[in-house]
Symmetry: C2
Subunit: 222 residues, 2 copies
């Protein structure tokens, strides 16, 4: 399986790239608007993994090239760039390419972080509105803390809620999530309820800000 | 400490009444629009607790009488009755009475449950707008599953997120939450971010509906 991480040069894309490379046999491709930046970051990841005895090549290319051959494309860019990014790769997408939405739109004021739902209802649904009609869309990975994910010394113990209207795509992404050590995939329902998953992210950040000793929080349902 | 549970004749009010009576030394008063119903349910709870060797009197009275002497008033009524209920007890409230909002407004369609934020932003903020100005308002207990809470054979292992603009009231309710075996209280921030806590309730219900073996879910942040 080939997984492309658009915006895989930082934040949650970095951690997913490192963990999929370390914990699975899948090919991991970093995409960026700037192919040189993607290559440079991919080399950084290779060195970091190599130092841990993981001998696997993460490659870095432009977003469009990354999407062209990938089975699964994770749109791990800031929410305000999510639909534009999907636009630029639209010609590379078809019903065989699963598009994953991990981004969350938030705003901050004196009270803390708030959820800022896009007009479509969620970032995942905004991506659905933008992508070609036959492309399966999946919401996942919104609630993972980038800091915990990219720190390979840190053991994860978190749930990933997966939403989609496409059962096959949902099963595939659930399986990819569960292949990362310490992650469990849960079925969150159809894409139309993804706002509930996205809105847990500002909650997690508020909890981390307001409670001593809670950093890079994850969530477990039990 | 005297805790009044308005709408304590069912749902989450029942579980909180039973667990506070069993796990703490606090006085628990059940309130209802119908004082006879409150008395009858309080007697049921007494019998249930007595059968477990807990010799404590839960009393049942009308909502107004329940609020009159209580230190903490939990508005555990359905969300559509929350502000009306606060209206009927307004004359009993002052800056010494902490008002707790555990209700969540939801709607259901084919995709599952959705969060339905009141115009005020959250049920907690709608209660704040209705209550006399000096009454401290606290959001808490929204994410507890009524079924798990009222089943005293079930060990809880869940977090309660507490939001408030009043530090003292927040500390008090956090302490009352943590006194129930298996519950941990977390500081969620000011009342203005309570929508994030409320919106986790439909998410929990969707997860319970969509995943085998997950009933009456709780949540743990780690």
């Amino acid at each position: 399986m080939e997984i492309a991480l658009l915006g895989g040069t930082g934040d949650i894309g970095e951690g997913l790239a490192l963990r999929w490379a370390r914990d699975t046999e899948h090919s991991v491709v970093i995409g960026s608007r700037d192919p040189e930046k993607a290559t440079s970051r991919a080399n950084d990841y290779d060195e970091l993994l190599s130092a841990r005895g993981v001998d696997i090549d993460v490659t870095g290319v432009g977003n469009e090239e990354a999407a062209a051959t990938a089975d699964v494309v994770v749109v791990s860019v800031p929410p305000e760039y999510a639909t534009d990014t999907v636009d630029t790769i639209a010609s590379q997408l078809d019903d065989e390419t699963v598009l994953v939405s991990p981004a969350v739109a938030m705003r901050r004021d004196g009270a803390g972080f708030h959820y800022e739902a896009p007009e479509a209802g969620s970032v995942a649904e905004a991506i659905e509105d933008t992508a070609p009609n036959d492309v399966p869309i999946v919401g996942a990975f919104q609630n993972l803390a980038a800091g915990a994910l990219s720190d390979l010394d840190r053991d994860l113990a978190a749930d990933v809620i997966v939403t989609s209207d496409d059962a096959e795509a949902k099963a595939l992404v659930s399986s990819l999530a569960a292949e990362i050590d310490g992650l469990r995939a849960l079925d969150g329902g159809p894409l139309a309820v993804t706002a509930l998953v996205e809105s847990m992210t500002p909650l997690l950040i508020n909890l981390a800000m307001n409670n001593d000793g809670m950093h890079d929080l994850g969530v477990r349902f039990q």
